[in-house]
Amino acid sequence: MRNYCFLIAFLLFAGDLAAHPMPGSVVKLSVLNREIRGVAFMPKIELENAIGRPVGNLNTPFFTRYFTSHIRAISGGKPWKTTIDKILVATTQDSTVGSYDEVEVHFLMMPPDSDNLRNFTFDYDVIIHQVVTHSAIVFVEQDWKNGVRDDLTTRPLGVIKLDVPTGKIFPLEVRLGEGSSWKGFMSMVSLGMEHIREGTDHLLFLLTLLLPATLLVKRKRWAGFWGVSHSLRHIVKIVTAFTIGHSITLIIGSTGIVHFPVKPIEILIAVSILVSAAHAFRPLFPGKELFIAAGFGLIHGMAFAESLVSLDLDAGSLALSILGFNLGIELMQLLIIVITIPWLIILSRNRTYKEVRVGGAIFAGIAAVAWIIERVSGSPNSISSALQAISGSAYGLLFFLAILALLSYFKKNSPEAD
C-alpha cells in the first residue's frame, strides 16, 4: 500500500517526520456520494505505545471503540457518524527504520446532512492523543468533482500533531472546494486517454486488427491493396464496431449491476490479441472483422469498467464518468489511428508490406502468448517483462513505421501479392 503518496509526504513534510524514530501516520480520504471513506496507516508499535500494551487481535470491540472515538468529523456543530470497516496489519518498508508492522484502519464518516460533505473539521487523534511525538499527515485520495482520483494527483491537506507551545492537538479544518462536474468529467476523459496510452494490450489488439484491414483476400490469403477509400471505410467500421462493443460492457460493468471477474477478462484480452495476430497472418474470418471487433470489444469494455467501479460514484457522476472515460478512450484510439493508418496505407500499396504484416503478426502473437502465460500463472515471464520495458518506446516504433512507409513510397514497387 505504500506508494508515491508517501514519497510526496516525505518530500513535503520530512521536517515533521524525519526526526521520528517511526514514521508518522498517513490518512487518505475519499469523497464519495454521501460519505467520506478513509484509510489510516500507522506503525503498530506507536499504536502499542498509545494504548500501553501489545495490540494482539485488532478485530475486537475495544479497537472499534478506540478508532471510532479518535476518528471524528464535525460540521455545523454536529458530529458525523464514524464506522470502522476493517482493521488489518501488514509489514511495510520505510527508508529510515526499514521493515516494520503497519496497522491499516478502513473507516467511513457520514455527515448528518450530506450537503456538508466537503467542509468539515477532521478531529483525528489516533495515537497522538497519548503519544505526543507522533503525527498524522492527511491526504485526499479521491474527490471526483475536483478531478482527484488517486494519490498521485493530490497534495496533503495538512498534518495533525501536537502544537508544542499550547500543548494542544488542533483538528484539521478540511475545505475541499466545491469542484464541478466539468472538472470531474475532464478528469475522466484524461483517465480514458491514459488507459489506452498505457494499456499496451488494448493498443496492440487494435493495431493488430488493423494490420490487414487495407488488403484484399484472394484464395484464403491476404492479397493486394484494396484501395484508399475502401480501406478507410473498412477501418472506420472495425473501429466503430470495437467502440460499440466495449461501450456496452463498460456501461453495464461500471454501473455495478454485473461484476466481471478480473482474471478471466485479462486472459481473454490476451487471447483476443492472439486471434487478431493469427488473422493478420492468414485471413481467418475475412469480411467478418466487424463481428470479431465488436465481440472482443465487449471483453475489453469489461476491463475498462474495472477502473470506474472502484470510484464508487453517485448515478449522475457515474453517467458523466462513463461518458468522459469512453470519450477519452475514443479520442486516444482516434489519435493512434490517425497517426498510424496513413503509413499502413502507403506501405500496403507495396510488395514489402507482406514483411511488415507478417512481422507485426508474429510480434503480436508472441506478446499475446507471453501475456496469456503471465495472466494464467500469475507471475511475469521474460517476454512480458520485456514488453513492459519497451511499451514506452511506441513512438519509436511509429517513427520506424513512417520511415519504412516513406522508403517504400519512393521505391514504388509493385503491390503485394502472395
Partner: protein
C-alpha cells in the same frame, strides 16, 4: 579493490604529509579504526594561544591543510538557514532541503580530519566521557554501527564539519559539527561564545562497547545523572513531575525551532531541596560540560534554577522504551528519550539541549 588501494594511498600520503608538518600525532589507535576516524593532532603552532585566538588559530591551521575548493565547501558566509540544517539522522536519510552543509570526513584525508578534530576538541569540553571525549565516542559508536549491520551510510566518513562565517576575533561565525546522533553548534560573536545549541546527542549501541582500542560508554553519564535526579525526588514530588503523555521521541528535534511549551510542566525546582537542586545542576552539566566555555552558561542556568521545571514520563531508570525526562527553564531546555533500536536490538537514547534564548547564537 580500487577503493582499498585508494585508502592505502591516502594513508601513505597522509603519513608523509604528517611527518613533513612536524605535528605530533596523538597516540593513534589502529585497532578497529578506519582512515576516517583518526585521533586529532596536537597543533603545536597554536599551543600557546588561548580563548578565541586559539579557535581562530586552529581554524586557520585546519584550512591550511585543505585545497581551495575544500575551503569553499567548508566555509560559507554565516546564514541562519544553513545553521538550522542539522539532524539526528545519517546524512543519507536526511531530507534533501535539510542536508548538512560543509565537508564530510569521507572527502578528507586522514591529516585533514586530524586538524578538523583538533579544532572541535579545542572548543569542546575536556571531561572524561563528556565534551571531546564524548564526540570521539559517538564517532566510534557510528563506526561500530557501520561494522555491525549498518550500511555505508553509517560511520565517521558521514560526519560533517562546517564553518558558517569566517572564524575571527570579530564578527559572527559558527563551528558546526555533526552526523548520525550528533549535532554540535558553537556560535561566536566578536570573540565570545554566544550560543552552544541546538546540541543533539544520541547513541546506538547504548551499552559499553570496545572500539578504537578503547572502552566507549557515551551518554551513560547523562542517563545516570537524569536517573539520579529523578530518584532523588520524594514519591509526592515524583507524582508532580510525572507527565501523562507518552514520548516515543524528543519533542523539539531538528527543524522544530523556537517551539517550546508556553507553560512548563512538571515540578518547579524552587520546591526542591539544595541536594535535589544539585542533582538537577549535575544533569545539566552533562550537556553544558560538552563545550569548553561552559562556566557562563552554567552560571546562567544556576541563576534561573528556581524557575526551572523537571518532568518525566515512563520510568525513572531512563533505559526502558519511551522513558522520557525534561529540564525546562527560562533558558535551558534539555529532553532525553529512550527508544527502540533501528540497527541493533535494544533501546537507545535521543536527547537535545536547546537554549530558548541563544539557540544558533540568537540568530
Amino acid at each position: 579493490m580500487i577503493r582499498s588501494k585508494l585508502i592505502l594511498a591516502v594513508v601513505l600520503l597522509s603519513g608523509l604529509l604528517g611527518s613533513c608538518k612536524k605535528d605530533k600525532s596523538a597516540n593513534s589507535n589502529t585497532t578497529g579504526s578506519t582512515t576516517y576516524n583518526p585521533d586529532p593532532v596536537e597543533v603545536t603552532g597554536c599551543a600557546i594561544q588561548t580563548g578565541i585566538s586559539k579557535v581562530v588559530c586552529l581554524s586557520d591551521a585546519f584550512k591550511a591543510t585543505l585545497t581551495s575548493s575544500q575551503v569553499a565547501t567548508l566555509q560559507t558566509a554565516y546564514s541562519s538557514a544553513n545553521a538550522k540544517k542539522w539532524s539526528n539522522l545519517p546524512q543519507a536519510l536526511v531530507q534533501s532541503s535539510n542536508k548538512r552543509v560543509g565537508l564530510n570526513f569521507g572527502s578528507m584525508t586522514t591529516t585533514q580530519i586530524q586538524y578538523a578534530k583538533a579544532l572541535i576538541k579545542a572548543v569542546a569540553g575536556a571531561g572524561a566521557d563528556e565534551g571531546w571525549d564524548e564526540q570521539q565516542q559517538l564517532l566510534n559508536a557510528d563506526e561500530y554501527l557501520g561494522a555491525n549491520g549498518g550500511s555505508s551510510e553509517y560511520g565517521a566518513a558521514n560526519y560533517y564539519i562546517a564553518l558558517l562565517g569566517t572564524p575571527a576575533t570579530t564578527g559572527t561565525f559558527e563551528i558546526m559539527f555533526g552526523g548520525h546522533h550528533d549535532a554540535f553548534a558553537n556560535t561566536y560573536k566578536d570573540g565570545v561564545l554566544v550560543g552552544a545549541t541546538p546540541s543533539f546527542r544520541g547513541v546506538e549501541p547504548f551499552g559499553t562497547f570496545t572500539w578504537n582500542s578503547k572502552s566507549n560508554q557515551p551518554l551513560q553519564a547523562e542517563q545516570a545523572a537524569f536517573s539520579a535526579m529523578l530518584n532523588g525526588l520524594t514519591t509526592a514530588q515524583l507524582a508532580t513531575a510525572k507527565l501523562n503523555a507518552t514520548f516515543s521521541d524528543i519533542l523539539v528535534g531538528p527543524q522544530k525551532d523556537a517551539a517550546f511549551p508556553s507553560t512548563p510542566s512538571g515540578i518547579a525546582c524552587s520546591s526542591l531541596s539544595a541536594s535535589q537542586k544539585a542533582l538537577v545542576m549535575a544533569a545539566i552539566a552533562t550537556y553544558v560540560g560538552d563545550v569548553a566555555d561552559a562556566a557562563p552558561i552554567t552560571a546562567k542556568y544556576s541563576n534561573e534554577l528556581d524557575n526551572t521545571y523537571i518532568s518525566y514520563s515512563g520510568t525513572t531508570g531512563l533505559v526502558t522504551q519511551n522513558d522520557y525526562v525534561r529540564i525546562d527553564g527560562p533558558s535551558v531546555w534539555i529532553e532525553y528519550n529512550c527508544q527502540h533500536g533501528v540497527i541493533l536490538s535494544g533501546n537507545h537514547p535521543h536527547s537535545v539541549w536547546r537554549d530558548k534564548k541563544t539557540d544558533y547564537g540568537s540568530n
